[in-house]
């Protein structure tokens, strides 16, 4: 199983793009991480206008925080992160520096 928590700045990701993003990332999970990475679920948090900052300045950066099955090697994880970022930018039109993607192990306690 894989979960994604999306933190997006107000107005940066249209609501009608969400389904396409979720579908695209589900395919990425299956293709790169294998059948153990499905099903995929997602939650969205919209950061209000004037409520998100990067380096102390208003932000347009989205955060994609994934939680994936344990046992992913570093090369596979890097390919996964890169592909998720590419899909995000393709669908939303965001620049590469406007998305931060992470994928932690399912059992990671933090």
């Amino acid at each position: 199983m894989t979960t994604f928590d999306f933190f997006v700045q107000h107005g940066c990701v249209p609501e009608d793009a969400r389904q396409e993003i979720e579908s695209a990332l589900a395919s990425v999970c299956s293709d790169i991480l294998g059948p153990g990475a499905t099903p995929v679920s997602a939650s969205w948090t919209v950061i209000g206008k004037g409520f998100g900052f990067r380096g102390g300045k208003p932000s347009t950066t989205s955060l994609v925080r994934g939680r994936i099955p344990d046992g992913c090697g570093s090369e596979t994880r890097a390919r996964f992160l890169r592909t998720v970022a590419e899909e995000w930018c393709r669908i939303t039109g965001a620049a590469q520096d406007e998305v931060i993607v992470s994928a932690r192990d399912w059992s990671w306690a933090g």
Binding site: G48, F51, F53, R54, G56, A85, Q96, I100, S102, W106
Partner: protein, 141 residues
Amino acid sequence: MPFYRCLIPEDSLTYDQRERIAVAFTDVHCGLSGAPRSFVQVAFLETDGSREVADAYGQGTMKFSTPYFIAGGNRAGRSPDMKSRILEGLLGRFAEIAGISGEMVSGRISEAPASWTMEEGKILPDPGQESEWFAQHARSG
């Protein structure tokens, strides 16, 4: 990578306060850790009275009993003393700028390995390796 979510009551902070807190958090985090300012993300999320938030860097939820809460997420690899100083610094500046007593705000910082995050198409460096990381990526374009 540092991502500080500030859980706040509805309509409790003005834009000016939020901006000042975001700058202060960037100052605290970067001043103590040496991390680049562009790494620091701060988001303010107004709560509906709920006193728990999902741990975006670990698992489960963070529960809290104060009206204001800072849910932090950082790269792993810093000493416990450094982590404690960062959190204390954040809480102190938050209370000062929000105009509240220190007892009204609490926080917790979770951590995950730097290699589990990609920013601008690059895997993040471990804490303390930022200069080499920037130099390496400047060379490679």
